[in-house]
Symmetry: C2
């Protein structure tokens, strides 16, 4: 086995950090490394943690790390901020709260930002998960802020998704609207000493009745007070119960299959898109675009021509000359 | 000319609304309609309005509509809410404030929500813009909430993008991080009677110095108080000045060309993705996925096989068997 791979498998934190960075930066060796890592993955339990900014996710995660370390488990954390294409996630102030674990050999924490645009963030996170998985971390926590396409894709990397809410926030309907409710396996009501807990619980239950979940799993609702380390055991117990449920019903392998399918189709797509971009420089394509700009043909007609002639894809609709 | 097209060109609001709905719902005739509309488009001035929820965008837009109507211009409004895949944008409460214009024949207002997932929203908005453009509206206002991939795509449909901020919100850095700063052509500081206006102006100017803009355009910063209809003329004057700048420097045609290129490549891509989805059902592909699930080959190896054999795309990296 190559030296770098041995070092990763031994949990060498410097090597792990370097490998993730080099992959993030699109190193040409990347695929080779991912191929080599792949047989050593599949052992970590992947927990997603999402919720609004200010819900207390980082405090919760810091407290959960303490609990897991106490139980003898090693923990990797990927804190993903899809809104920071410029900063690479570096200014995530909440990271500071986790620094107490920075010197612990059994904990690896990393921020991920969308340097290369939103689309690539889920892919980069998936690659980082694979590195941490091969490095032997028992539990990998994936944290995202807010709701949106990127967060949704990222949460699909996890086996168990925890949605963190606050009794006073009143954001449940927003969360429901954004489809996050459907991917949440557990609900954590953090800051459960504030008024409104029972109302929020009722709201969650009402909305859960409207959304699809893999029966017979009923997402539990857990109350925590992260700042006082209350409720963490309940959260972890629920996560373990969900993981056992996934394994017991053959759902874990189903999730993994779906994840592989999505990864393959994203990889194929992005390679294809690169090729199409190159073709767009061809004189023939420039002419078609110019014709569309001059309103002689429609953009749809240009697309149909390209699908037919270059990709041999016939679309249902047959082209007519545009009428005036 | 077909009857429906005549009706659209006459500005028949019922026909306009029906056509947009039918296109949103993916009517099979859609491409034919878009082809027929296309030669009649290109006359509207497209103004994007973005900013955080609560910044006062809807009140500003309602006031701008009043000003434009006073000037004899007709106005179309598309209020786009990318966070509402479930509701189809129907619960956008702010729309209520615009109902005063509902009976005005020279004003058309429409909410757009992401029924079909985030990806399709920019495409649906672009189609609705085309309908309103062909219907002869002089100005089309496109409003989005918040920041993210979807909003970014939608704002690229506009000729002039206005970013609305508030002196007290403190969200400039967020906005900068999300890349919205780069696409803003004008800044409107609404609620300019609140303290902090000069600090915010300074912040915007400092951040503008860090971001790319088409020289020699310097995005102006306008102060408004939408609830008292103050500053609207300044906003409109700045929008007109930006539009003249685009025309004068050949930038309008550049923007339109880029928009057409993006539209064509999105159309080609989504047709291609449909085809790839169908191929994924093939036994050969199912076997490859199973091999990846069993960790005999990596997902990257599956992707390389498919790129090579099905799409005849050779990737740089040559496949090795995974080492263990």
């Amino acid at each position: 086995m190559e030296t770098w791979l041995t070092q990763i498998k031994e949990g060498n934190k410097r090597q792990i950090a370097r490998l993730i960075s080099r992959m993030e930066n699109g190193d040409p060796e990347k695929e080779k490394w991912l191929d080599a890592l792949y047989p050593h993955t599949g052992n970590a339990q992947l927990i997603g943690v999402t919720g609004s900014p200010g819900a207390g996710k980082s405090t919760l995660i810091a407290a959960l790390i303490r609990l897991l370390r106490h139980m003898g488990k090693t923990v990797g954390v990927l804190a993903v901020d899809p809104t920071s294409p410029f900063t690479g996630g570096a200014i995530l102030g909440d990271r500071v709260r986790m620094t107490e674990h920075a010197l612990d050999e059994g904990v690896f924490i990393r921020s991920m930002g969308s340097r290369g645009g939103w689309g690539g963030l889920a892919q980069a996170t998936s690659e980082a998960v694979r590195v941490l998985d091969a490095a032997g971390y028992d539990v990998i926590l994936i944290e995202t802020v807010g709701v949106g396409q990127a967060e949704w894709d990222i949460m699909h990397l996890a086996d168990t998704v925890t949605l963190v809410l606050n009794p006073t926030a009143g954001d449940v309907v927003q969360v429901f609207k954004a489809g996050i409710m459907e991917i949440a396996d557990l609900f954590v009501i953090n800051k459960a000493d504030l008024p409104g807990v029972s109302r929020l619980k009722q709201e969650i239950q009402d909305l859960l009745a409207l959304s699809k979940h893999d029966a017979p799993w009923h997402p539990p609702i857990i109350e925590t007070l992260a700042t006082e380390e209350k409720g963490l055991e309940d959260w972890w117990e629920a996560a373990e119960r969900h993981y056992a449920h996934l394994r017991g019903h053959g759902l874990l392998v189903q999730k993994r299959r779906a994840r592989i399918e999505k990864e393959v189709s994203d990889l194929v797509f992005s390679a294809w898109r690169e090729r199409f971009k190159a073709k767009q420089q061809a004189p023939r394509f420039r002419r078609d675009i110019q014709d569309a700009l001059d309103q002689r043909i429609s953009p749809h007609e240009v697309a149909r021509r390209w699908l037919k002639e270059e990709l041999r894809i016939e679309t249902q609709f047959q082209a007519d000359p545009v009428d005036d």
